[in-house]
Symmetry: C2
Subunit: 184 residues, 2 copies
DNA sequence: CGCCCCATGTAAACTGTTACATGATTTC
DNA sequence: GAAATCATGTAACAGTTTACATGGGGCG
C-alpha cells in the first residue's frame, strides 16, 4: 500500500492529476520511488471511492485534478507515525558488481565506467534541483522535507560516482596485474 | 529473471542449498538484494530442470547442495555482457523523508534519529566484513568483486548515517524555529 | 522429551510491468 | 495535416510476499 500513501502525500502538497503524480515522482523523487501510470490510475480510482482524495476540477487538456481529503491526510499521517519504514533494498546494478568476476576484466572496467557516467549525470541534475531551492525554504514545511531529501539524493549520487570511479581503477589494476601474470 | 541470474551466480562461487542462498544474500549482499525461500525453491527447481544447476550431493541435515553448470555460467555471463543494468530504485525510507512535513517536528526528528541508528548498526557490521577480507584478495576473482561491492556497502551506510544525523539536526532547528514563532 | 532452529516446499494474495487501446492538443 | 506528446484507461502477465504445511537435528 506504499503507492497509495505516496499518492496521498503527493496530492496533499498541491492538487494534481495522475499524470502529474508520475512526473512528480520521476522528477523530484526518482532516486526514491517510481510508478507507472498503469498502476496509478486504478489506485486513484480506489482512493476516490474510499474518500481519501476528491476531484477538485479540470486542468489543461481536461486533466482530472485531485486533492487529498483530510481523511486521506490522516491516513498517511497514521502510516508515518505508526509503522516503521521498510528499508529493504533491491538494486540490480549493485548485485551485478558482485558478479563481475564472471566476465573479462575489461568488461568489468567498462561496467564500472558506465555506472560512473550514469551517476555523474544524475548528480548534475540533482545539484541543479538543490541549487534552485528558494533561500527561505525553512519557512515552508513541504520545502523543508524536500530540501532534506534532495540533499540525500545529491549525497547518494556523489557517493555512487566516487565509488564507481574507484571500482573502475581497482579493476584496471587487476587487469594489468593479470596481464603481467600471464606474461610470466 | 534477475533472481535466476543471482542464484546462478551465487551457486557458481561455491555449491550450496536454497537455504544457503537466502543466507548468503542476507549476510553479504543484503544492501543490494534479498529473496525469500518461497521464491527461491521453485526457482531452483526450474533451474535444475533447465540444466542450469545440478545437484552435487547432500550437506548437513540432508541439505540439497547445488552447483551452477557451465551452461548456467554462460547464461549469467551473457546477461552481464549483453544487457544494461536496471538502476530503478524503490526505497520506502527515503520516500518517507519526503513526507515528514505531514507529521509533528518532534516525530520527524525521531524518524531521522531512527534512520541514523539503523544505518549505524549496518555500518558497523559491514566494516567488520570489510576488515575480515584476507590481505591477498586480489589473487581470487570472486574476492575482488566481493571486496569492491562491500566497499560500496560501507560507503552507502556511512553516507546514510551522516545524512540522517544531518537531517535530524535540521529538523531540530526547525522545531526550535517554529516554537519561537509560535511564542511571538 | 519438548522446544527451537534448520530446511524444504506449496498456495493464495498482492504488487508491479508490459502491452494494448484511445482520443485530445500542441508543434512543425 | 502529420507527428509527437499529453492524458487516461484496461488486461494479461511476471514477480514478490505472506501464510500454510511438514519433518529432521541439536540442546537443555
Amino acid at each position: 500500500l506504499t503507492l497509495r500513501y505516496a499518492l496521498l502525500a503527493i496530492l496533499a502538497i498541491k492538487p494534481g492529476s495522475g499524470y502529474d503524480a508520475v512526473q512528480r515522482f520521476r522528477k523530484s523523487a526518482g532516486y526514491a520511488w517510481h510508478a507507472n501510470h498503469s498502476q496509478i490510475y486504478p489506485e486513484l480510482a480506489r482512493c476516490l471511492e474510499a474518500g481519501l482524495i476528491k476531484e477538485v476540477g479540470r486542468g489543461k487538456r481536461g486533466k482530472r485534478l485531485y486533492s487529498t481529503t483530510p481523511k486521506g491526510v490522516r491516513l498517511v499521517r497514521d502510516w508515518l507515525l505508526k509503522s516503521s519504514p521498510d528499508r529493504a533494498v533491491r538494486n540490480e546494478a549493485t548485485l551485478r558488481s558482485f558478479f563481475t568476476w564472471l566476465i573479462p576484466d575489461d568488461a568489468a572496467v567498462a561496467f564500472y565506467r558506465g555506472e560512473a557516467a550514469y551517476h555523474r549525470l544524475l548528480l548534475d541534475e540533482l545539484e541543479g534541483v538543490r541549487g534552485s531551492f528558494p533561500d527561505d525554504w525553512r519557512e515552508d514545511p513541504p520545502l523543508v522535507s524536500g530540501r532534506i531529501t534532495v540533499e540525500l539524493g545529491v549525497r547518494y549520487e556523489r557517493m555512487m560516482l566516487d565509488w564507481a570511479e574507484w571500482a573502475a581503477e581497482q579493476m584496471e589494476m587487476q587487469r594489468m596485474h593479470d596481464a603481467i601474470r600471464q606474461a610470466t
